[in-house]
């Protein structure tokens, strides 16, 4: 069975236990050793960002979005052509947080049980025993997710949304934080199965890396020439720190008018003539959650329509289906969304 499932040798599966803290621990200035306020959040997230950026050069926006998704308790889909550092970003994020990480290489013959785990017969105890699959981790890196068949992709459905796995009638909860970072090649590439709509809808955001600019590429050549920078990456935050940060994000203030704006935006995608499928209510939820995290990363304790606007494309675009006409005209959902953002009135008091 050519299962590409393995614990990443450097992060290791065994590191789910609290790891030794790195030098400037995340605990300073916080209650119970955990970050509780915006300034803590800024500090911790800043450290994570810096750590990732030692590996992924010249992509501050992608890094920021990845962090946003992490803090918004969401899942991240990184889509781009091969070789632009998708997996690098995923792994860098995974390694900079001190928590359990599993990596699944999706291949066409991967089976659902290869992801969720199997019940195996234990000869000694003469009973079935559940062998947890790679989803039992804090961060699951699913590489080339659209190389697997839709059946296997769908194995992720339950765990992504409900953070639990049900095998043979028994439900096993997943540890928090739980984040799936999947990479995929554009659907036009050969040998890919497009993700089903239900699966896409579960990813909070889809980002693409894009080619680095020449200077960043040059720097990358230098850095990667000597050694794999990932090897030097040390965890800078603990899983419990992340949990605390998530709590901070949950407390972010979202004004009623901003919530309304998010709803307006999502509703507009449902009524748009060029879209066959608009965004779901779950999309609204994800949008507001991500906006909370985005605002927190901006050191703000309230959400602005700007945040919603920034996140509209990454959070909504992969959920929309253009109509046949729009496809013929090469109008992508991203274009439609950008246009909607430019058109939709921002909520303001009184008219």
């Amino acid at each position: 069975m050519a299962v590409g499932m393995h614990g990443d040798p450097s992060t290791g599966t065994g590191r789910s236990a609290p790891a030794p803290r790195s030098g400037d621990g995340p605990a300073d200035g916080s209650r119970n050793g955990l970050p509780v306020g915006l300034d803590d959040l800024a500090r911790v997230s800043g450290r994570i960002r810096d750590a990732i950026e030692t590996v992924v050069e010249g992509k501050p926006r992608a890094v920021r979005l990845a962090l946003t998704v992490l803090l918004a308790e969401g899942h991240l889909l990184i889509e781009d052509v091969p070789g632009v550092g998708k997996t690098m970003l995923a792994k860098a994020l995974a390694r900079s947080v001190d928590c359990s990480v599993r990596r699944v290489q999706f291949t066409p013959d991967l089976l659902p049980s290869d992801i969720t785990g199997v019940s195996a017969y234990n000869q000694e105890r003469r009973e079935f025993e559940f062998k947890p699959g790679p989803v039992f981790a804090n961060i699951v890196v699913g590489d080339e997710i659209n190389r697997a068949s839709p059946k296997t992709q769908s194995a992720l459905l339950e765990c992504m949304e409900e953070r639990q796995v049900t095998v043979d009638g028994t439900t096993y909860p997943l540890e928090r934080p739980f984040m799936v970072i999947a990479t995929q090649n554009p659907v036009e590439m050969e040998g890919t199965y497009p993700l089903p709509e239900a699966q896409r809808d579960r990813f909070t955001a889809r980002i693409s890396m894009g080619y680095p600019d020449p200077a960043a590429e040059l720097e990358m050549l230098d850095a990667h020439g000597e050694a794999n920078p990932l090897d030097d990456l040390e965890p800078v935050a603990h899983a419990s720190d992340v949990r605390a940060l998530i709590e901070v994000v949950r407390r972010q203030h979202v004004a009623a008018s901003v919530r309304q704006y998010a709803i307006d935006l999502v509703t507009a995608t449902r009524n748009h003539p060029e879209l066959r499928l608009g965004a779901s209510p779950r999309a609204t939820l994800h949008l507001v959650r991500a906006a909370r995290a985005y605002a927190a990363l901006d050191d703000r304790d309230y959400v602005l329509p700007d945040d919603v606007q920034e996140l509209a494309v990454p959070v909504l675009a992969h959920r929309l289906l253009p109509t046949a006409e729009a496809q013929v005209e090469r109008r992508r959902p991203e274009h439609v969304l950008t246009e909607l953002v430019h058109r939709l009135p921002v909520p303001s008091p009184r008219g």
Partner: protein, 829 residues
């Protein structure tokens, strides 16, 4: 469903035909219209069943209409009462020509007659056929409005009062219902609508039908608004409807339960009689008057509508002649008069004559039947009886004023002036100039009148010509006066009366007969050719006095006579010495011998003339030429000042609302965005005020302000656009941040105080101004665009509120309908 559309088309035609009501006297015609519509609809349905091609389809309704007409009008002569025979067709033809002649003879409203009914049936049937063809067969409901509109325009064109707004509304509603039904059909043809907002709220039973409720609601709103605008707008626009849209209440006939007296149009019957080759005897009379006796008057036309002279008599019950005596003639007080008794016998052939031909001014009339008198003009008429074949005795007072009496009679009360010198504005100025020019040098109304008469009969170069058509428009009158100079008594009388009114002399046009020819001493005979029209002018003390501008004798109206007083320097008022000499004395000898009447209300616009103290001109002409310029200039200045003033006011209101000391915490209202608790009112308001001011300033200076922009985005854009220096940029950032906090932050965050923000806004305003071009700067000061935007916003808010209210009303109505339906017994389908 074709049947539904057929029914709707019929209803629309019927509703449109309601607008015809001013044309008819009774309500009978409506049932015929209904019958015609039903017949046409039935014919159309049958034709469609037989699958006749569209081009031939009108045949079906036409046949049905013919059958219907035969059944209703000539059943007796038809086969089995319905199949047309040559004799029944001939009957129909006769009825049509009857109807046509009635329609020609009478001014609207025409009496209820069978001929008229047949015409109504055919006319409405034709409209119904076209509407049905367009709306049902060709599925073009919108153009079907054209025949409906044509039907509506008939009464609107004929009646000066137009059509009642209610009738118009009904017609419009009918057409809208037709459009709605058509749209429903075509939308229904497409099946279910997927992206409707409310389809899932519909009850399961309605799922099969496509949901068009929101569309329909919008449609209904648009329709109702359109009709309301169509009804209300003309009231606000001057000139479209001078008497107001609800005319008929005040000036029009029919007020206080009175009934309008209808007669054949006097002018029309006049010209017909004059040109009729059959010059029969109309009436004969015996009189004890000296020769020649006075004219016999039928009508006094005292209104000039800009095109023609008309009259209007609103008949009331108390006008009935109970004893023979009539009210005293108006104005006849000091001038000498003679009592004349005339016994008139009207020919039997004179049908439909509801007015009595009598010499002016009648004081007693003895006649059988129910007769009424119109007190102001002393016209005697009947609503039921005709004068044809009747004999009656009339006693009248014939005024015999001397020129001196008339010279002195040029003082008028303001009532008199307002009623009898009124001219609509449409009368061209040319007529007034001409009148002034012709009467140059005269100092009293009497002198003017004499000059006018002699101008018409001698010096003006007019020619009597019966071949000229009846004048229909005001322009015909001007043509007659200035270019053509050919006409018959109607043109002469109308023109002189108008010119007299222009000069401020009360005038009207009388229609009737000349004295005719004496057949034996004291016995006179009046023929059709003696029909005549003449102007009467009012002089205080003498009352209404006849003038004669129509040339007389063989070259003119054969039996016309010029009264002696109208020939200046002529008779001494001894009456009866009038001459039928076609060459009267030259009037040029009439020097300004009359004594000037001080303070006369006689309008003469010649400088230095005695009449310059005239009262306010009746035609609302502005006297001196600069007044309109002054008024216009003031208006322009006001308009120019209005926009900046509004802008300044808005600014002050915004800041004063924001700066007003925040009320106590218990009265502080909760922030609109925040359910968690009250937001300190002042700070947030100040931020909003600052932001709106910034927006207004930007718009004033022509900087766009898209509504999809957040405060931050605005800051970025303005910074790029204006190239702000540091203080301005930070001011801008402070304003935006304050607004952001006020809008989106939790309540415990306080934006900066108002006066700081105000200073920042001022900084930004000068930044806007310095980056704008000079033109834009001035426009921002003089015509701030933001006021327009504000007005638009206000209008939008108002319309949204209206929509909400109407929506609620519709909802209530719908619920009511549902309830009523629930109460009704269920149909057993």
């Amino acid at each position: 469903m074709r049947i539904r559309m057929t029914v709707m088309a019929g209803l629309a035609t019927l509703a449109g035909s309601i607008g015809l009501y001013p044309l008819f006297m009774g309500g009978q015609w409506f049932w015929h219209a209904l019958g015609a519509v039903v017949a046409v609809a039935a014919g159309a349905v049958v034709a469609r069943r037989l699958r006749i091609p569209a081009a031939l389809e009108p045949l079906g309704p036409a046949v049905a209409l013919l059958l219907y007409c035969t059944l209703v009008f000539t059943a007796g002569r038809a086969l089995v009462g319905i199949v047309p025979t040559p004799s029944s067709l001939a009957g129909l033809r006769d009825l049509i020509s009857d109807g046509a002649s009635t329609a020609n003879r009478y001014a609207a409203p025409v009496p209820d007659e069978r001929g008229i009914h047949l015409l109504v049936t055919i006319g409405v049937g034709a409209v119904a056929t076209v509407v049905d063809l367009l709306a049902v067969r060709l599925r073009r409901a919108a153009p079907a409005g054209l025949p409906l509109l044509a039907m509506y325009s008939v009464p609107a064109a004929i009646r000066e009062h137009g059509v009642n707004w209610l009738a118009f509304g009904l017609g419009a509603a009918g057409f809208l219902a037709l459009l709605m039904a058509d749209a429903r059909e075509s939308v229904g043809g497409w099946g279910r609508m997927v992206f409707s907002q409310r389809w899932h709220e519909e009850s399961p039973g309605d799922r099969d039908a496509p949901d068009i409720s929101s569309l329909a609601t919008t449609g209904r709103r648009i329709g109702v608004t359109a009709v309301a605008v169509a009804v209300l707008l003309p009231m606000a626009v001057p000139g479209i409807h001078p008497r107001g849209v609800f005319g008929g209440k005040g000036t029009g006939p029919g007020g206080d339960g009175a009934r309008t007296v209808t007669t054949p149009d006097p002018m029309v019957s006049l010209s017909r009689q004059l040109t009729n080759p059959d010059d029969g005897v109309v009436l004969t009379y015996e009189t004890d008057d000296a020769e020649p006796p006075d004219y016999l008057r039928l009508y006094a036309l005292d209104r000039f509508d800009g095109d023609r002279w008309t009259y209007s008599v609103a008949s009331r019950a108390q006008d009935k002649l109970t004893d023979a005596s009539l009210p005293a003639p108006p104005g006849l007080t000091v001038a000498p008069s003679r009592t004349v008794t005339t016994r008139v016998k009207v020919s039997k052939d004179l049908r439909d004559l509801q007015f009595l031909p009598m010499p002016y001014a009648p004081t007693r009339v003895r006649i059988k039947g129910e007769w009424r008198v119109h007190s102001p003009s002393l016209m005697v008429y009947s609503l039921r009886d005709g004068a044809g074949g009747k004999s009656f005795t009339v006693t009248s007072r014939r005024a015999l004023p001397s020129p001196g009496d008339l010279q002195a009679g040029g003082t008028y009360t303001s009532d008199m002036l307002s009623e009898f010198t009124y001219l609509p504005k449409s009368v061209p100025d040319k007529v007034r100039r001409l009148a002034v020019q012709v009467t140059k040098g005269s100092r009293t109304p009497y002198e003017s009148a004499v000059k006018l008469q002699s101008w018409f009969t001698q010096t003006g170069g007019f020619r009597y010509d019966l071949t000229v058509g009846t004048p229909e428009h005001g322009s015909d009158l001007v043509d007659f006066l200035t270019v053509d100079k050919r006409g018959y008594c109607e043109q002469f009388a109308a023109a002189m009366a108008v010119m007299a009114r222009e000069l401020g002399v009360p005038a009207r046009v009388s229609v009737g007969y000349t004295a005719g020819k004496a057949v034996s001493p004291g016995r006179w005979e009046v023929r059709g050719r003696d029909a005549h029209a003449w102007p009467e002018l009012y002089f205080d003390g003498a009352g209404w006095v006849r003038f004669e501008p129509t040339p007389s004798g063989t070259e003119g109206q054969g039996t016309a006579t010029e009264p002696s007083y109208s020939l200046a320097g002529g008779g001494s008022g001894s009456g009866g010495s009038d001459t039928s000499n076609p060459q009267p004395l030259p009037s040029s000898s009439a020097g300004p011998g009359g004594r000037p009447t001080g303070g006369a209300h006689f309008r003469n616009d010649l400088p230095g003339a005695g009449g310059t103290a005239a009262p306010a001109p009746k035609k609302h002409k502005s006297g001196p030429g600069y007044a309109p310029w002054v008024a216009g200039g003031t208006l322009l200045v006001l308009l120019l000042a209005a926009a900046p003033a509004v802008r300044a006011l808005t600014r002050r209101r915004r800041w004063s609302a924001a700066l007003e000391p925040p009320p106590g915490p218990e009265t502080a209202r909760p922030g609109p965005d925040d359910p968690r608790g009250p937001r300190p009112r002042g700070a947030a308001d100040a931020a909003h005020a600052a932001w709106r001011e910034l927006r207004a300033d930007a718009i004033d200076h022509g900087v766009p302000w898209p509504s999809s922009e957040t405060p931050r985005a605005t800051v970025r854009r303005l910074d790029d656009l204006l190239g702000l220096d540091d203080p301005a940029a930070s001011a801008l950032r402070r304003i935006a941040r304050a607004e952001e906090l006020a809008r989106y932050a939790p309540v415990d965050r306080t934006p900066p105080p108002a006066d700081l923000l105000r200073a920042d806004v001022r900084t930004m305003r000068s930044a806007f101004a310095s980056s704008a071009t000079a033109t834009a700067r001035w426009r921002a000061r003089l015509l701030p665009a933001s006021t327009v935007a504000e007005a638009r916003d206000a209008a939008r808010v108002a319309s949204e509120r209206t929509a909400r209210v109407t929506g609620r009303a519709e909802h209530t109505l719908a619920r009511l309908v549902t309830r009523v339906r629930a109460l009704l017994p269920t149909r057993s389908d």
